[in-house]
Amino acid sequence: MLEKLKTSLAEAFPGIELNLSVNERSIVTVSGECDAWDTVVDVGHFLAKQEGVKNVVNKMTVKGLVIPKKDYAPFAKKGKEKGVIRKADVVIVGAGVCGCGIARELSKYELDIIVTDMADDVCTGASKANNGNIHPGMSVKPGTLKAKLNIEGNRMYQKWADELGFALDWCGCIGIVTDERLMPAAQMVFQVAQINGVHEPEMIDAERALELEPNLAKRNLNIIGGAYFPSFGQVESYEVVTALAENAAENGVEFMLNTTVAEVLHEDGEVKGVVTDRGIIEAKYVINCAGVYADEISAMAGDECYTIHGRKGTLAVLDRHMKPEFKSVLMILDANMIQNQKNAESKGGAMCRTNEWQMLLGPSATEVPDKEDNTTTEADLAYAMATNSNPDAGYKDIIKTFCGVRPADYSEDFVIEMSPVTHGFINVGAIQSPGFASAPAIAKMVEEIFLNDAKDVKKKENYNPYGKRKVEFRHLTREEQDALIQKDPRYGRIICRCEQITEGEILDALKSHIIPTSVDAIKRRTRAGMGRCQGGFCQPKVLEILARELGKEWTEIHLKDGNSQILFSKNREKAEKGDEQS
């Protein structure tokens, strides 16, 4: 196999000197130097596509490019000095949609579960920065784990929404064809949907398209046909993850935030726990949901079996004034589309809308050497904006641009398994699109892997699957709003004028199990600061509430995790101190 790979690799990438090795699990490791990051990615993808290759560990470097690498040593040193701080049954690394979903699933059992995350809050990575699409499963390769879990996850979402109380809108997705040449593409997507088992896909004609989306008539399009997928859903991703985390915590899961896992302890093929910067946690199981860092965590567990290459995507949210024309996510496949198409691996998102009825454009898809590179760029924004088909909407309507990094591996499939090398270590890696849609099925699959192994776990008697319903002032009628304020006057003070978020809602968020301590964490819980002024008016008010409720100084309140303080000092603090001394 190795020789065959070497030959085909040399043919495909002549002039690059690469070292290859293959292990007994058909994991290929490649190293060597090339001239461009894209080549690194291309070699990885090429190898992963070769027959018999399970996955690729890509250690290639680029001439003249320093690829940032996280240095875990200082974290490990700090943690080891503190020694063992906790013993648990399960440690879940990473508090994104997978980590929190799995934590909640396993909280049904009599288990001591800890979820760690390096950030100050749950949902700060890829789970936050995406477009909240619950894909039906028509754009995944049949036969992959992705396809299976996407379909299953999609079907499980309503239950999650019902139990946890987050908004889920089955808005449907429609592809409208206006150029003959694209009809086969629509048919192919439909066929893939059928093969994958997507719920009730439908080929449609112009009449049906107009019935589904009457506003299409205004566009004056030559509709040849199209495909309709009613099982396309839309959520606010941070709402889902915080609801999962809150419910998991309600059922006894402990969340350790601002905690970086620096080593995975293992001995004789058995996982023993993790070393974090806050101390050592001994555990029988370690579940790796570390997003872009999942490959590194897996390597720490002695199981180097895939490499994550970050693929960033820029998104743009438009002002509410620019009302979405369509209820569904509607794509018009025309000649422009043919030009805009990138390679199959890097396809980006489309024009959709949030459940708050704002247009949402993107994401783009750009490979980046730095996993933490969530910078927006002009080119990426242009890509996102090109997904817009509304002639009235454009750059002038943007209220927010943001960017997330997809944790893709080279097989472009999910890696979910009990490690065959280190028993007790479960990989949940390379969860990129449609990871959010697949999340409920991923949680269930990990539960099964866990139960197959840990046979004697008991179900909790008092497990409560229901999340607390949030008060959302903006969605109430005037009478309901009045009644609410009469009952609790704190709902009468609007803090965020753009999104009409009240002090009561912010205080509710602060009363939760996982206390949001930064301005952005409050934003994800309540929408305060998410509107058109982007916190220009409400940031000082949110900061004041946070300082007051958490008993902190104003200067101690941060925008997000890490060193992100908003205010440095009181005015003339130095001068005043000087006065005291003199």
Binding site: T375, L381, D482, P540, S564, Q565, I566, K570
Partner: protein
């Protein structure tokens, strides 16, 4: 739900709203209500502790707070009702206002006339497509002003300012006085965005460099801003390769423009002017919905508070006339038409037939010298005013007597030789 009735309700207690409420009462409206979302009246003036306010109106240089207090003191001598810490959520075309606070709950306020004076907000990093990371330490100038002047905290030590709007210039001086270092002001356009007097008094006096035709192309720093990349722009506003420079800073202040805050206006369905981003107004500053008026920065972004107050008077006089049944419910209009170097004129139209003294405000498209403002009605020149110097940041104001029988053309052209 609490139900209230007023002759005139004014939304927003900044300089425009304060003046509008006072004038409305003075002109004879009996029940006047002023609604303010903040905990005190004065609007943005409460954080404007610098001087330069009131030169036209009071003939002296006052601090913003002092200017506001003059009106607040006057208001306290009247029977005008004031609701503080109260947010208006909705205004209907039938002049019903829904507002709430934590004492009264939700209120339904029915009025004979409504005056909109909600002010404006600042353009943000995303709106100007600022690229790179989104760390702490990127703030709009007004937010920085609030933190420093009202809350008493410094949001950084070393600042770069993007945009030369007036608040940015004022803050350049303010931050310097607070011991912070301001490394420079970067302006995309080839001319400053703020008033000349602010360039002189806030930058030149403190040797803060102003870089025209320059911008910030990238924000560095994942958590807290660490630096910005700045670059020179060519005449098409494209980055000139090789001019990029990285400047270390821990604060980026954005002074990149103001947007009239017209969400309530749009909500009740008034016709908008895409140029001013305010409602289409007639000579009484009445919107397209009879009985709904607008003044201050919600109508058009002014640069002098004196003009803002004046617009409040005009709107209030109109509102009282409306309450007294003196305004047609379906008015017909002639238009004001900008010509030459004139970019826009407020008001955008004048009631047909009724001769009137009209307060006009306008901005030019580009800087010019030795120009002449010529106002024509049909073919007749009704006013000529020489202007030694004009520039987009400096709003021009004039009062014109019109007949209302023909469109009024407002032209800015080269001055004729004497």
């Amino acid at each position: 739900m609490k139900k209230l009735e007023y002759d005139i309700a004014v939304i927003g207690g900044g300089p425009a709203g304060l003046q509008a409420a006072l004038t409305a009462r003075k002109e004879g409206a009996e029940k006047v209500l002023l609604i303010e979302r903040d905990v005190e009246l004065g609007g943005i003036l409460q954080q404007c502790i610098h001087d330069g306010f009131g030169i036209h109106r009071f003939g002296k240089r006052m601090a913003g707070t002092e200017y506001a207090q003059t009106f607040i003191d006057e208001l306290e001598q009247t029977d005008i009702d004031v609701l503080l810490d109260t947010m208006v959520l909705e205004v209907t075309k039938d002049k019903l206002i829904y507002a709430c606070n934590n004492k009264d709950g939700m209120m339904e306020i029915s009025c004979k006339a409504v005056i909109l004076s909600m002010g404006c907000r600042e353009r943000t990093a995303s709106q100007i497509q600022l690229m790179g990371y989104r760390p702490a330490g990127v703030l709009t100038a007004g937010t920085v002003q609030r933190y420093i002047n009202l809350e008493g905290y410094l949001p950084g030590q070393t600042a770069v300012i993007l945009g030369s709007g007036d608040i940015g210039l004022i803050m350049a001086r303010r931050m310097t006085l607070e011991g912070m270092e301001v490394k420079g002001v970067y302006e995309v356009m080839d001319a400053p965005g703020g008033l000349t007097r602010n360039i002189v008094q806030c930058l030149d006096d403190y040797e803060i460099p102003l870089h025209l035709s320059s911008t910030v192309t990238k924000v560095h720093g994942k958590k807290r801003i660490e630096a910005v990349t700045v670059a020179k722009l060519d005449e098409n506003k494209k980055v000139i390769p090789g001019t990029e420079e990285t400047i270390e800073c821990d604060l980026l202040v954005l002074a990149v423009g103001l947007i009239p805050e017209n969400e309530l206006s749009i909500g009740c369905g008034v016709e908008m002017d895409p140029k001013t981003r305010g409602p289409m107004l007639d000579h009484r500053f009445m919107t397209s919905i009879p009985g709904i008026f607008a003044c201050g920065n919600v109508a058009v972004v002014f640069d002098l508070v004196d003009y803002v107050s004046r617009s409040g008077e005009v709107a209030a006089e109109g509102a009282v006339a409306y309450v007294n049944g003196k305004i047609d419910e379906q008015p017909e209009y002639v238009q004001t038409i900008p010509e030459g170097n004139v970019n826009f004129v407020v008001p955008q139209r004048i009631a047909k037939g009724g001769s009137a003294k009209v307060q006009m405000y306008m901005r030019v498209k580009h800087p010019d010298k030795k120009t002449e403002l010529e106002i024509r009605e049909a073919d007749e020149v009704i006013q000529v005013k020489k202007q030694a110097f004009v520039a987009p940041p400096e709003m021009i104001s004039c009062e014109v007597e019109v007949s209302g029988n023909a469109d009024v053309v407002v032209n800015m052209k080269e001055a004729e030789n004497e």
